[in-house]
């Protein structure tokens, strides 16, 4: 179970950590009951401030994906997040699509990217079951 971090990327590190863990949950590499390293351990390995990892964990906990245990890391508790409403989810999709359009891609190219990504995500979810 490995996550990848890019410190030169414009996305903040806590965002990258949270996203990577979410992807692992969707892929089925992290199932409910799986333990995550403690905040200190992960911060040590990545080489970032303890707060950075704590923020990522707290966000995942707020979404109901993990439960933070004091002193001994965290446990994955669910494969489905709870906090985001349909409107919020639609909005994030709209933002992503806007970026694609602004990048100058044609409708066909955008559709292809969308289908590929959807296929990839769903396949890994199906494959894990």
């Amino acid at each position: 179970v490995i996550i990848r971090i890019d410190t030169s990327h414009k996305l903040p590190i806590y965002r990258q950590i949270a996203d990577e863990i979410k992807m692992l949950i969707v892929k089925g590499d992290l199932v409910p009951g799986a333990t995550l390293p403690s905040v200190r351990q992960l911060a040590t390995d990545i080489g970032v401030n303890l707060n950075t990892v704590a923020i990522a964990y707290r966000e995942l906990q707020e979404e109901g994906l993990i439960t933070i245990r004091h002193g001994s890391g965290a446990v994955v508790t669910s494969c489905t997040s709870q906090s985001q409403s349909i409107q919020d989810l639609r909005r994030s999709l709209r933002v992503a699509l806007t970026e694609l359009v602004l990048a100058g891609l044609s409708l066909k190219e955008i559709k292809k990217i969308f289908d590929d990504e959807l296929q990839h995500t769903i396949q890994s979810k199906e494959g894990s079951r």
């Binding site: 490995i2 410190t7 990327h9 692992l24 995550l36 351990q41 040590t44 990545i46 080489g47 890391g73």
Partner: protein, 367 residues
Amino acid sequence: MKTEMVFLQVLLGELISFAIFMSLPLMHTQRTASGGSEGKDFQETTRRAANGYRLILTGLFIASTAAIYLVLIRWQTQAGAALISIGFNVAALFCYINYARQVGPFAVPSPITRYAVSLRVRRLVDYTHTWLEALILILTIGPLVLLMSAYPGMPDQIPVHFNITGEPDGWARKSLGSAFFAPALSVYLQAVFLLIKYDMVHAKMILPEESTEEVLRYKEQFLKTNAQLFDLVRVSCALLLAMTALLPVNKSLGEVASNMLALASTLIWIGPALLVGGLSYFIWRLLRIKRDLEVLSPGSNAPCSVDDQYWRQGGLVYKNPEDPAVMIEKLVGLGYTYNMASRGVYWRLAILVGVPLFVVWAFSFLR
């Protein structure tokens, strides 16, 4: 006879440091070569600097050994010999730092911004063998308990130093300090060792973006082998100090225990032999793992090139206040080293110095 034995011991120590210092550039140039610059200038300068360093080191070694021989055999002063031995190590260290400064500017650091991290939880328990811990506990606490029960019946003069065959050759007046020094030292050292092992297990583990899985496997193996090597040191230390602690009381322990101890003291040389053999085996394995890692992903066996600038003293000391890591893989050499600028190290050092001071202070009231 006795002075010759001392000379041989000191010579062995000198030889070991000499071998370590000779091999340092080997590990350091590998690192700088993989750091980027591989031009002709770099190769030439590195080679010349390394040759110069080795030449000076050999000269230092010969000179200091000759001086030690003179001081020990002619003038019979052991303290002088020890001082010269320490002086040799310090001088060699300065030579190495000087060498690293010459080579350093040629290494082009390649800052890695994309890397991977394993989410596997590392716990001390996973690197612990129950029977081994039980053995260490018995060897550490056992002598303390035995000595407590035997203390009132001990004679006024107790042996405190023993020669290689277990015969006493140093005596002291009976006191809590002289009787309990060895077992107390044993308990203290075991506690320190356990803390270091805990830090080792939780040391920073950074993985490259490519061939992540394989590198992870090797790095975990590296950690495991290091933990095993450390366990060997812990057991040997506990065994040696248990023997030292019990030798003064073997007369007052009764027939059976006394005989067992006599037997053990004749076998005492097996301990060092096992230790040397075991250490060689583990070091050989660590070297192999490092070599395989270097083949698998060049440069990845350096812990993290991101932190290149924080390695001081030719890559021997790591000082990075921004890094939350308390322990980190060594840049030069095998194993792990402390991040000397982390806050965790300060309280560790405080305990390391504070506890013995406190014990000595507390015992001074008991007399």
